[in-house]
């Protein structure tokens, strides 16, 4: 029943009628229909898989063996900050897992103090006056930030006048998407030849109709915006707000602060910079910091310390943009981020940025020596963009890396660089791992030089080979359905 590695059955296909992992004793008592009302009960049992405990363990263990994860190997996805999550955070978070958000604040004083302290620390790290911990992801933080900016302009009577949000052409797709969701028009400014934002184009785009400028520093190509002060001054001169996308905070944490650069709003991806879990879609955590003039618009509830020293929740504030998420956010991750800051301290955080930048530059130079071309040949921050030599495709190199047992870098992003490979090793990789990655890439280029067709076959050692990405994109099958005897999906895919 375990099957070949390339054809693992689904848990439903392992099902056999009546099979159970556990058989609890029958409990005497009132019928479920009497307790809940017959109208809420199912007429037929749900189609759940019926498996033994051993089937269950084998199924998920086999699935886990097929995963590539940071716990298994280097995972240098540019723009994603796939750093290692220390296991001690799990133990710390577990200490809080039995609390319920409906508990009275008087019974969760420790947690509220932790959250209140974390708010202060995140404000200190980013140079902001106040922080909300609610948003459940980076993009959710962006939405929260841009909604606050809109509320600010509306309160100043400029809601109708300010229609545009400016984003660089290299920006994360979430930036223009956020602006669009809040109802703004997106104005794109190009990247200059040195990898920084084109300052002249930025100044030309700024005007009385600009609501905000969304930037990340270092930029999406891993280069520090040395003209950030000038950009901030130009944005503020026309009354626009400056938004900091915290996706690249790992490059400057403990060393430089967005608030000091002139940013008015910052979101932080705790699942990137502050080591909360990142795989499998999260849950992410995207706290947002603001300067004092935007604090009245922060979402509710707010964790705060009362005059008597106890901790409580502020539930009403007329200027607030309202509630962005149920309760206080992804509390388990907030606890993990607290543990990380607490264990590193200010010096440790600065060391994170130093090592992240050093590692990226080391790998950048080693890849250049191996024959890769840097997109911008200058010192980078925590990540860099390169491309393979002429005639070799980034996709082939990425597939060949899988045969080396390593996860590829981010490929074909940012879109302003052709055949882009975006590499972010993070501070948690050792010199030996960086060398192994660079050696593997050098071997791949040598193979391609000897036999130009060699990479087309890769990967050859993985459970599945090249997937048909085109068919998957054109005709996505998003829901599993049972197969008939011929092995065809019985229900039409949708």
């Amino acid at each position: 029943m375990n099957g070949r590695q390339d054809e693992l059955p689904t848990i439903f296909e392992r099902s056999a009628p009546g099979r159970r992992a556990a058989r609890p004793p029958r409990v005497e008592g009132p019928a479920m229909a009497d307790l809940l009302g017959a109208e809420v009960l199912r007429s037929a049992p749900p189609a759940l898989p019926e498996v033994s405990e051993l089937d269950l363990v084998r199924h998920y263990t086999n699935l886990a063996h097929r995963q590539t994860s940071i716990d298994g190997n280097v995972y240098p996805l540019g723009s994603c900050t796939m750093k290692y999550n220390p296991k001690v955070h799990e133990e710390v978070a577990a200490a809080f897992e039995d609390l319920h958000p409906e508990q009275d604040p008087s019974s969760v004083q420790g947690l509220l103090e932790l959250l209140g302290t974390l708010q202060d620390w995140l404000g200190t790290i980013t140079g902001m006056d106040d922080v909300t911990l609610q948003p459940a992801a980076g993009a959710h933080g962006e939405l929260t930030g841009i909604l606050m900016i809109r509320a600010f302009h509306e309160a100043n009577g400029e809601g109708a006048q300010r229609r545009n949000v400016i984003v660089p052409d290299a920006a994360h797709g979430t930036n223009p998407a956020t602006a669009g969701m809040v109802g703004y028009d997106v104005v794109e400014v190009p990247t200059a030849a040195d990898g920084e934002v084109d300052l002249a184009a930025m100044k030309a785009a700024l005007g009385p109709d600009t609501a905000a400028v969304m930037l990340t520093n270092p930029s999406t190509v891993g280069i520090f915006e040395t003209r950030i002060q000038e950009i901030a001054d130009a944005a503020h001169a026309v009354g626009a707000q400056l938004y900091y996308d915290g996706a690249n905070l790992n490059a400057i944490v403990g060393k430089a602060r967005p608030g000091d650069m002139g940013f008015d709003v910052v979101h932080m991806n705790l699942h990137k910079t502050l080591t909360t879990p990142h795989g499998g879609g999260g849950p992410g955590t995207g706290p947002v910091g603001v300067k004092a003039h935007l604090a009245p618009y922060l979402p509710l509830p707010r964790v705060r310390q009362e005059v008597d020293g106890t901790w409580g929740l502020e539930e009403t504030r007329s200027t607030s943009i309202g509630r962005m998420r149920s309760y206080y956010g992804n509390v388990g991750n907030l606890v993990r981020a607290y543990a990380y800051i607490r264990s590193l301290g200010a010096e440790g955080l600065a060391n994170v940025a130093e090592m992240a930048v050093l590692n990226a530059n080391y790998l950048r130079v080693r890849m250049r020596e191996a024959g890769f071309q840097p997109a911008f040949d200058r010192t980078c921050m925590h990540e860099f963009v390169a491309r393979p030599p002429e005639g070799i495709s980034t996709n082939d190199v990425a597939k060949a890396l899988l045969d080396e047992g390593m996860h590829p870098m981010t490929v074909y992003f940012p879109m302003v660089v052709k055949e882009a490979m975006m590499v972010e090793p993070t501070e948690t990789e050792s010199l030996q791992t960086l060398d192994a990655y660079a050696d593997a890439l050098a071997r791949i280029l040598q193979r391609a030089a000897r036999d130009p067709g060699a990479l087309a076959e890769a990967p050859t050692t993985t459970p599945v080979r090249r997937l048909d990405e085109v068919a998957a994109a054109r005709h996505p099958v998003l829901r599993w359905s049972p197969r008939d005897e011929d092995g065809e999906a019985a229900a039409a895919a949708d």
Binding site: N395, V411, Y412, M415, K418, E469, V470, A473, R474
Partner: protein, 129 residues
């Protein structure tokens, strides 16, 4: 690389046909489809939309990237190629034929003359490849 002499071109790799029954037909060039790779999704404008030259009007998405398609001339969108919604591969297979994107009735038909001819566009492609 196929660059038909009868068409006009934008630096952003759209082709524009001659005026026919008051409209010009617009698509992306052979060079553009080759750079994008297999097209998997197309977002088309609404018929009747008013556009200025240079407005982002459609999106063509491939496995590796997504590209805005810009209106080469100002005017009104008169038709869109809805067949592409089910068969975006037509853009790769017949960029100058069945892969057309939309038809615009130009405000001023002379605007088309400001676009690049085939020789000038060939230079653009050589610069970018």
């Amino acid at each position: 690389m196929d660059i038909p002499a009868s068409l006009r071109y934008a630096r952003t790799h759209e082709w524009t046909s001659e005026l026919e029954a008051d409209v010009v037909t617009v698509g992306i060039t052979d060079f553009a489809q080759d750079q994008l790779g297999d097209v998997v999704f197309v977002e088309l404008p609404e018929e009747g939309a008013r556009v200025a030259a240079g407005d982002a009007l459609a999106v063509v998405e491939s496995v590796k990237t997504a590209s805005d398609i810009y209106a080469p001339v100002a005017g009104t969108v008169k038709a869109v190629n809805t067949e592409l919604e089910a068969a975006p591969e037509k853009i790769n297979e017949e960029p100058y034929g069945g892969g057309w994107l939309f038809r615009i009735e130009p405000d001023d038909p002379a605007d088309r003359d400001t676009l690049l001819d085939a020789d000038a566009y060939r230079v653009v492609c050589e610069e970018e490849s």
